[in-house]
């Protein structure tokens, strides 16, 4: 009886009552909610977001599930709408867009969506899996670095116009070691992509592939060009040794951090898009450097590249380090804030201890 009444309450003026246990949804465009795209009327009452996506994919073959993004629709009365249009112009946010329907495993009813409701659809564009992106953005630098070392005469001699005698100069210790370190670093990253990392999201827009690959490949090429240059000036022997020792230590440290983080995920840590749990279970990483630094993995990464640059001493190497830091710092601050907010010591949760954010002893 209760279910019958709730169906009556939810059904709009023009909706006829559907069968028990079924859900009917209108899918409209999130950029223009007056434009209706599809009606999906064979969803079970306890359908999840993923079920909705699969049904939508069956009706519109172009939009495979990972490309779909649904948000809740907020229906406002006319007067409220006008007030909010002013607001909208100032903040540029769409006022009728509610919360996003993520993760996929969550039930539609948990969002408060009922029979006859409208959901908004947005096309995220062609998607590519995280693993594929990571692979190509790390495989490229590995490959791009090599020609400058192994085809020196052809590149510096024929293409850039340095004399063959200069190009035939033997390599300095720093240059050979740099080759090994650079290649080992990216080989390690590729290994981690397939065997260590577990990704909380399955895909990303394909534009990111081009952007990320451009960044990594260009810097790898530039660093390689200057390190393997016939006129490369190596820093002193001791500096080279210290630099590479530091780099090796922190590379190993970085690997250990990633393994620790992976173990967090597999033991029920962060959210997974295909998991059935609707809660985001964050766990404070602990052990090794995580007790002192929130983002110990970024810390090791930064110091590892610093070691590499101390050993090779190129302007573009340091530029690459700066670029990496400028990206990692905001991420680290966000993560630190998130964990601090979540673990505030109340409700039996642990209190997030004060620690460095990403770069001890500075920050």
């Amino acid at each position: 009886m209760k279910r019958f009444l709730s169906n009556v309450r939810r059904a709009g003026n023009n909706e006829s009552l559907g069968e028990f246990g079924k859900m009917k949804l209108h899918v409209c465009s999130s950029s223009n909610p007056t434009r209706q795209l599809e009606t999906i009327d064979d969803l079970p009452e306890d359908a999840t977001v993923l079920d909705l996506k699969k049904r939508f994919h069956m009706k519109k073959r172009k939009y495979y599930p990972s490309r779909q993004r649904f948000t809740k629709f907020i229906n406002k009365s006319e007067t409220e709408k006008e007030e909010e249009e002013e607001e909208e112009k100032k903040t540029k946010k769409n006022v009728f867009k509610g919360e996003a329907l993520v993760p996929d495993g969550k039930k539609l009813s948990e969002f408060g969506i009922g029979y006859g409701d409208v959901v908004l659809f947005k096309d995220l564009g062609p998607q590519i899996s995280y693993q594929a992106v990571f692979f190509w953005e790390y495989f490229g630098p590995l490959m791009v670095y090599l020609p400058f070392y192994f085809y020196r005469e052809r590149i510096y001699g024929r293409f850039f116009g340095f004399s063959p005698k200069e190009c035939a100069k033997p390599f300095v210790r720093a240059q050979t070691l740099a080759l090994w370190f650079h290649s080992a670093h990216y080989a390690k990253r590729i290994f981690e992509t397939f065997f260590v990392h577990s990704f909380s999201r399955a895909t990303m827009p394909i534009f990111n592939l081009i952007r990320n690959c451009g960044y990594y490949w260009t810097f790898a090429g530039l660093m390689s060009y200057f390190i393997n240059h016939p006129r490369y000036t190596s820093p002193g022997d001791r500096q080279v040794t210290i630099g590479f020792v530091l780099s090796a230590l922190f590379q190993l440290g970085n690997f250990r951090c990633h393994v620790i983080q992976k173990r967090l995920r597999s033991s029920g840590g962060s959210s997974s898009s295909s998991s059935s749990s609707s809660e985001t279970k964050y766990v404070i990483p602990s052990g090794f450097l995580f007790d002192y630094v929130t983002c110990a993995n970024y810390c090791c990464e930064i110091y590892q590249w610093l070691g590499f640059n101390i050993a090779t001493q190129t302007a573009f190497g340091y530029l690459f380090l700066m670029a990496g830091m400028s990206q990692m710092f905001p991420w680290a601050v966000q993560k630190h804030k998130r964990l601090k907010k979540l673990f505030d010591g109340t409700n039996g949760r642990k209190k997030f201890k004060r620690r460095f954010i990403v770069l001890p002893p500075f920050f």
Binding site: K89, H229, Y232, Q313, A315, F316
Partner: protein
Amino acid sequence: MGTNSNNNNNTNNNRNSNTFSRKKGLIHGYLLLYNLIQSLGWTAVLASALRAVLLPASSNFGRTTNWQERLTTVYDHSSMFVKPFQILSLMETLHAVFGFVRSPVLPSVLQWMGRTHVLMCVTDSVIPLQKTTAAGVLILCWAITECVRYPCYALGILNATPKWLLYLRYTLFIPLYPLGAASEMKLMYDSIGFVKRVEMYYVHMPNVLNFAFDYSWFLYLVLVVYPFMFAQLYFYMFHQRRRKLKTKKA
């Protein structure tokens, strides 16, 4: 680039404490002063440029000349005004950094760098380029847009922007922006031969930082990227135009 597309001088005002409104008043006063100074400066640029174009007799010993020849004299007349005020416009980036104005930092700094690079590194360093029509067109485009933009900002602080000024600001860019961008590209392209010959701004290896810089390659790169950046900004200005002129009429 030709026009600055930032939406400046919209500080928010929803707190009531005395110190805050005093600080806000100070900031507004300072911004008003800055925009006034720039308005005067760019008026000087425009005046000198127009003098070169409209009254050539005074600078050409009474010879009658055609428009192209007159444009080639513009840089000589205006450079002493353009250089300080264009460099001074770096302050606008700092205003964005310190939050005096609500506009993003990165586009502001990129635009300043683009313009100042063309002015100082390309045109000022390569003397033959100063006597080209492209340089003249460039100065005139910049001067006209800035003479409308800065008074617009200044009056905006006082909330006294006349409709016609706003209309000018968001309409003049339509011809001037492409003209300005085209002249910038032409100047950069013409400078490449000279740059290669004298190896201007080149950095050679070996050096302690293992760094090398080939300015002609840099210019080629900028020339390739320029149309895309220009298109982006141009369409953004149209979008702004629709927003600003629509609300004024409504």
